[in-house]
């Protein structure tokens, strides 16, 4: 049974972060720095913003379900 989508999304972002960490250990030139600042950082930030908003909304949906049972 799948978990909450926000938690699965967090896990996916962690996996991508691991891949970036590994890549950045071997890729050290100026292109790598520009990629990190210009593409990786915005991608990571936008993902974090989405997942944070998703977590808050899923918390609300769960609370509504609990409060209106019966």
């Amino acid at each position: 049974m799948p978990g909450r989508p926000d938690q699965d999304g967090d896990q996916q972002l962690r996996l991508l972060g691991d891949a970036w960490e590994k890549a950045s250990q071997h890729w050290l030139d100026g292109t790598a720095r520009r990629f990190g600042d210009g593409q990786w950082a915005p991608l990571h930030q936008e993902s974090r913003s989405y997942l944070e908003a998703l977590r808050e909304l899923m918390d609300t949906l769960d609370a509504a379900e609990r409060d209106t049972e019966g």
Partner: protein, 150 residues
């Protein structure tokens, strides 16, 4: 392929991770939208159920009050149970309505970051993937590394 090509291998790993991420997060976003739809439908169903329950309680209370109005003063009719049931049904319906309004408001707020994230998945991320592929090709060409056949 290791050693001097470690950067190429690392970039290939990053490219694969980016592709997996795009597909996985698209599925996450689809599931999130499904959860929102399901929660709204569930609340609407509960609201309908409690609306019907409230109408029934009010009808029973009205009938009781009519009997009470015609009852012998020495043998009064007690309608407090019906009144309590109608009040509780009304409170439950009101609670559900408040949650519906809150979820509508929060889902509306969520639409902003969700839309930007979907745009990232559909437009920005494929461009990042292409950029990484171009970097890999450039590094391979510079070192005369033969790229594997697709």
């Amino acid at each position: 392929m290791t050693g001097i090509h470690a950067d190429i291998d690392a970039l290939k790993g990053l490219h694969e991770a980016l592709v997996r991420y795009r597909h996985a997060q698209r599925e996450v976003a689809d599931r999130a939208a499904g959860r929102i739809r399901a929660a709204r439908a569930s609340l609407e169903e509960k609201a309908s159920r409690w609306q019907a329950q409230l109408a029934l309680c009010q009808a029973e209370l009205g009938a009781c009050q009519e009997r009470a109005a015609q009852a012998d003063p020495d043998d009064p009719v007690d309608c407090s149970g019906y009144a309590r049931a109608a009040e509780q049904s009304g409170e439950q319906l009101e609670r559900i309505r408040r949650w519906q309004q809150r979820i509508d408001a929060e889902a509306s707020e969520f639409a902003g970051p969700a839309g930007r994230f979907l745009d990232l998945l559909d437009n920005d991320l494929p461009r990042v993937e292409q950029h990484v592929l171009a970097l890999i090709a450039s590094l391979e060409a510079a070192r005369r590394v033969q790229a594997p056949a697709p």
